[in-house]
Assembly symmetry: D2
Homo-oligomer: 230 residues x 4
């Protein structure tokens, strides 16, 4: 099946397990309006059981799972079935996040299953070496996030961004590179895109903000602004 086309720069709103139900739905709807207004791809993640509701309520965002297992329909009790995610409307999934590390074997199989179903894959690496290994598995996006920086409010510097871009695109020039370490303000978003990331995203900078909707709007507009100045 055909996958969604990614319009660069892309922005990922990843509320992890901070949000569910109505609170998540409201922010997904804000993101949906932004994805209609601007020529930019916006991914919104949701807990597995929320994917269906988010998908039914939106039409422009790319509804994204937080994880997916590399299994086919069968036993797999308690695992995350790709077909079920796709049926619920998910069109992308994170894989191998530092909070849910995958075995190489499961990661490899999950990318193959996603490809068959038309689900975009965002695979996480916490070093340039890992990013190169993952690039051989041909996901759509690699998130290069030095684990040490997660939650510190420090963003990846220019050297790291250039190094990972070169490492990944040297293996497969079609893979997009996402940089999201320490994004906590709209200015971080602007700077990261300006430095050469294909996309970026945010969790706590939005969900812990006093006004999450406004911060989401500001960040998406900062990504647009950075793209226009390039």
């Amino acid at each position: 099946m055909s996958k969604p086309i990614i319009k660069k720069p892309f922005f990922v709103f990843n509320p992890k397990s901070y949000l569910y139900g109505n609170a998540l739905l409201e922010l997904a709807n804000v993101a949906d309006h932004l994805a209609e207004k601007y020529p930019i791809s916006i991914f919104v993640t949701a807990p597995f059981a929320d994917l269906s509701a988010i998908s039914k309520s939106t039409s422009k965002i790319i509804v994204t799972a937080q994880h997916m297992d590399g299994i086919e329909p069968g036993r797999g009790m308690g695992q995350v079935l790709p077909e079920s995610l796709h049926y619920a409307g998910a069109r992308a999934t994170f894989l191998n996040h530092a909070e849910h590390p995958m075995t190489l074997s499961n990661l490899s199989k999950a990318i193959i299953q996603a490809q068959k179903l038309g689900v975009l894959t965002i695979a996480c690496a916490d070093s340039t070496q890992e990013a190169k290994a993952i690039a051989e598995l041909k996901p759509d996006i690699i998130l290069c996030e030095p684990t040490d920086l997660i939650g510190t409010g420090k963003t990846s510097d220019e050297n790291y961004i250039n190094e990972t871009n070169e490492a990944v695109k040297g293996i497969d020039s079609e893979i997009l590179v996402m940089q999201a370490a320490g994004i906590s303000t709209a200015n971080d978003v602007f700077r990261t895109i300006e430095l050469g990331a294909d996309g970026t995203g945010c969790t706590s900078g939005i969900v812990k903000n006093q006004d999450p909707k406004q911060m989401l709007i500001d960040m998406v507009e900062a990504a647009m602004h950075a793209a226009n100045t390039q």
Copy 2:
């Protein structure tokens, strides 16, 4: 929050990851009619992303997740958030299934979270010793399934059923005991309830049957019949 009341004997239709989408929904609707017709609790499991659709389409069955993590809203990227399952309509969850074994710590926390949300817990043990350990965590139901028998078509014998019943209820008499090893025919269901199990259930005996709907009906009616003869 209050949990559903379990009417004995209960029956668990657990299609694992064999089914999703419409095929699963149709069987869930059959189960819902049976749960209306008979004074028996019927649990139907679904992949996480299918829970919401099953829940919206049914009213009598107990919609059941295949797994749940012992986390609270927060980071937990890729994990199975209890609040999200409950919001989607799940009122029960399996825990520690042999195909998704949990650490003792995660199992313990998941049972606590489920209790807070009013979600019933079906915790799996593959020996009498494990069943006793789990009984101290006070789940609602313990599934005593000797791992060696899963998928073999051999049911637990009377000794094993008595032994696990005594072991579990000796620790907490309110915990229900489910026996489901090797249930492949309606007669297996009848015999297992007759031998003293509080409930039973089935996966491949239904999903791999030529006529899954009829087999589901037959099994639920066999459970009823066994209850009436006691």
Copy 3:
């Protein structure tokens, strides 16, 4: 096979993966002299591949593995084989430490294998509820260590110690209870034994001390002193 007899109060020197080779051997020899001098059981843990050397060089300490899997000789590539540990001289093992959490199934099987081989088991719990579940598996010692306190320098308070003692011994009065949260000085050791722990132990308070040998001596003597004042 017969297990070593535990002389109370016991002390566990657990250098985790901080030490290996000669540095570890020297401290193990210090512990061996103390175990000869005082009527107290001293457990010394070592990385798996160091167990043999420690065992050959000592005679009074109880050489202890950091983990063991619940397997029998066979495939199990990369797992920690009980028979191999025992052959190398280990006579005790930690299980389910917060840095290496075990599935309930593996934990249950490991305790059974250890019992067969005459290897003492020290199983870790991070809540009273978990301690009760583990007590049903009948390990020799339960380490009750609220995970939140590990590495903070805060010790468990009297309430927690009493509560876990009662919870564990209420299920099986022969299980010993170890309390080791936040032990960083000899005084912490004294106080913890005085408050009713059957034993205690230490990692960073010793290995990060300027004079690890002296701190080890001081702690063991504090345990002796506490025992004598009871």
Copy 4:
């Protein structure tokens, strides 16, 4: 530190957890004689706690661990410390075996630690795609073993051997490729080397043989013979 030099074709005797203690030591000594007699590298794996004894008793074989974690000295309770393995005499380690799959992150870090210590790495892949990903991490040897064939007695065919050789050496021509699926006779060893594998190895074909010593000798000599006919 400098790593051992690998003399092709190499042979890996991998008794997994089938053997420990004296039974393992005797076969390791047989392998040591063979490694002296023939210009071939012989790796012999051992459970962690047996490594030290095997290493002390042999001088020509490459003593090999079954697994190693990507950690540095520090906490890591229950994990497999690289420094401890090296101190015990291990000069190689398997990584990511199908019976002990590793997260990509742990695998990547383990290869880096091994490199620092002068420990050879044999990393397992169960598909060509995985082999390519692992090749980017630059282990010394990649074992290409279609998981489905493990223990079936079926060997990899010529196509699979050529395909994996090209895939791996296309990324890094210095990485050696091991093929070991279904090796159960000396003739399997001969044929696999003849078809182009840099090395091969065996578990159950040796340990379950009536005369394991003779089978070990026959297999090593078959590898030599295949090398001489090339």
